[in-house]
Assembly symmetry: C2
Homo-oligomer: 340 residues x 2
């Protein structure tokens, strides 16, 4: 879940303290701001457990996941959000945007591999792929495993996320090095509106939560833009929250998607320990045209194929692909109730 | 994960404070001990976020999940462990043993339904079932949905867990009301050793973590006792930790089980938001005899069957049953490496 107008997170810092920190910090660029004392409470770093980062947000009231901080590596404020990187004691390096965990080195494989290969393994020979958000480069890294792909556009709103990822997460930002990638810094909604109709085989929306500016990315006009930019029988995969926390949001997304996407509309999920409730879901839809059966991948990517030799898939496999569409009964019933 | 010699949890309270609380508390029975000030740090209640409970343990170093506490409903100390019940702000009532979350009203369905129906739906007409641990009654509630079952033995070591559950979690402890249930308060290891050979169709081990006294429940002699108590082609399902946190423990369990269970040996998992890493796994094994294919349930329990009319299944269904055996590649490889 990298940057796309992320502002969902609340923090528990006082406005006064926050102002002080803003005064001390650069407003753009990747100038590194290190805390003199990593245990000192600062914006983004929790004041609730000294030396720990706690993720507290109105999106998941009454609960918080905390990670122990070894060292703060970067703190900055872009035009869109607060950006922080820290070395955790047991989850590797961690990227935080506006107080919300975007990725940890330990479990990022689950999100990046699933949001990418669920759509790309569901269609034969994907050639043109668009990524909205995804500024850390992880989705690009996964797309680049597919040898059929000829062109990868990415539209990320926040350049600081890209720069910080290249500096601190080289194994993730490696995705930017693929010569098929064109990076566009800008608004994903505008980029899609300007795209030529029927351009893409697949669109992957690696967005933040649907409260605040990113709300657009969960609404009908945005889905209509995505559908327009896709070829007939093209596919989209969007980050779509957790069935444990946001069933009502998911029901709305499903209802919207059923009106826009005349091919198929499906919900899948994966485990990600450092995301709220320990899981995250995806909406997978296709446009009218050649039919797409998301539950049965037609374009398998096996462990020895398209791996660029150095980095085997850690998480995704074809069995898990099909399993990801099997939902607990409470979620299955809620989603079925939106089946027009 | 109810009581079976649970002592895995570390707390961050000082020994001095803990001693003071022990002095104030009853050592058995369900005498209710309410804190005068729910925000006051007390054993079991975190002192790290005032008014929140934080789960910190050497079993999952460097991370902690926290729930906001509305009211502490019970605190006691049994002969085996500290027992606490609180009303959380967003997860309903919560049962804590030795500082570790055992269940919340909001997500207990996932664990109880999966640990029960994964084994019972994998064999035709289960008649005799043994539950080790499970003192909250949730597994019993699920076993009782199966109309073929004639006898349900449960052996729970800690009577306080049973009593507290009956008092504070009536929708879970309802399982004890089934006339087929016989409750035995005692040590599960001894109970199994004394059981007549070949008695049970299924054994469900609803245990705590394998550090401290419960360690026995993850070792070869215990599995051998289970195998002995099962009929040929009988099945066992044991709580088996998280692939994100305890892959090395799981590999050991798999290796042990492959030596003991000559039918099949499988690993499955489910999402449970309030368990560490947001998931929990199960070992499912069968003894030599009629073959058991756990991945394809032969004894489906559908939404209208054996539901005692009032409480439909919230989580389990046949699709999810099969999907639970599909593992991320890193776990699949590690487990396959133990395939003798």
């Amino acid at each position: 879940m990298a940057a796309e107008n992320n502002n969902a997170a609340a923090t528990i810092d006082s406005p006064l303290k926050r102002q002080r920190e803003e005064d001390e910090q650069p407003t753009n660029g990747v100038s590194q701001t290190l805390s003199k004392d990593p245990l000192q409470p600062i914006h983004g770093l929790s004041s609730v457990i000294p030396g720990w980062f706690s993720e507290i947000s109105p999106m998941w009231p009454g609960e918080a996941h905390s990670l122990k901080v070894e060292k703060i590596l970067f703190q900055g404020k872009s035009d869109y959000q607060d950006v922080m990187v820290f070395q955790s004691s047991t989850y590797g390096k961690v990227l935080i945007l506006d107080g919300v965990i975007q990725l940890t080195e330990r479990d990022e494989c689950a999100y990046q591999e699933m949001i990418t290969h669920l759509p790309l393994c569901s269609i034969p020979n994907p050639k043109k792929v668009l990524v909205i958000g995804g500024g850390d480069g992880g989705v690009l890294r996964e797309v680049s495993r597919h040898s059929s792909v000829e062109k990868i556009d990415i539209c990320e709103i926040d350049k600081m996320v890209v720069d910080v990822s290249k500096q601190f997460f080289p194994d993730i930002a490696v995705g930017f090095e693929d010569p098929r990638v064109s990076l566009h810094i800008g608004d994903g909604v505008a980029f899609l509106k300007a795209a030529t109709e029927g351009t893409y085989d697949a669109v992957i929306v690696d967005s933040s939560d649907p409260i605040g500016p990113a709300q657009e990315l969960f609404e009908k006009p945005f889905f209509a833009s995505v559908a327009r930019a896709l070829r007939p029988g093209g596919v989209v995969c969007t980050q779509a929250e957790s069935i444990w926390l946001h069933m009502h949001i998911i029901e709305d997304i499903v209802a919207n998607c059923r009106q826009i996407f005349k091919g198929s509309v499906n919900y899948a999920w994966t485990t990600v320990p450092t995301y709220p409730s320990g899981m995250i879901g995806f909406m997978l839809c296709s446009t009218e045209g050649p039919s797409v059966d998301f539950k049965h991948p037609v374009n398998p990517i096996d462990e020895n194929d398209g791996q660029q030799a150095t980095r085997p898939l850690k998480f995704y496999n074809s069995e898990l692909h099909s399993a990801a569409f099997c939902l607990p009964s409470f979620a299955k019933r809620a989603i079925a109730s939106k089946a027009n």
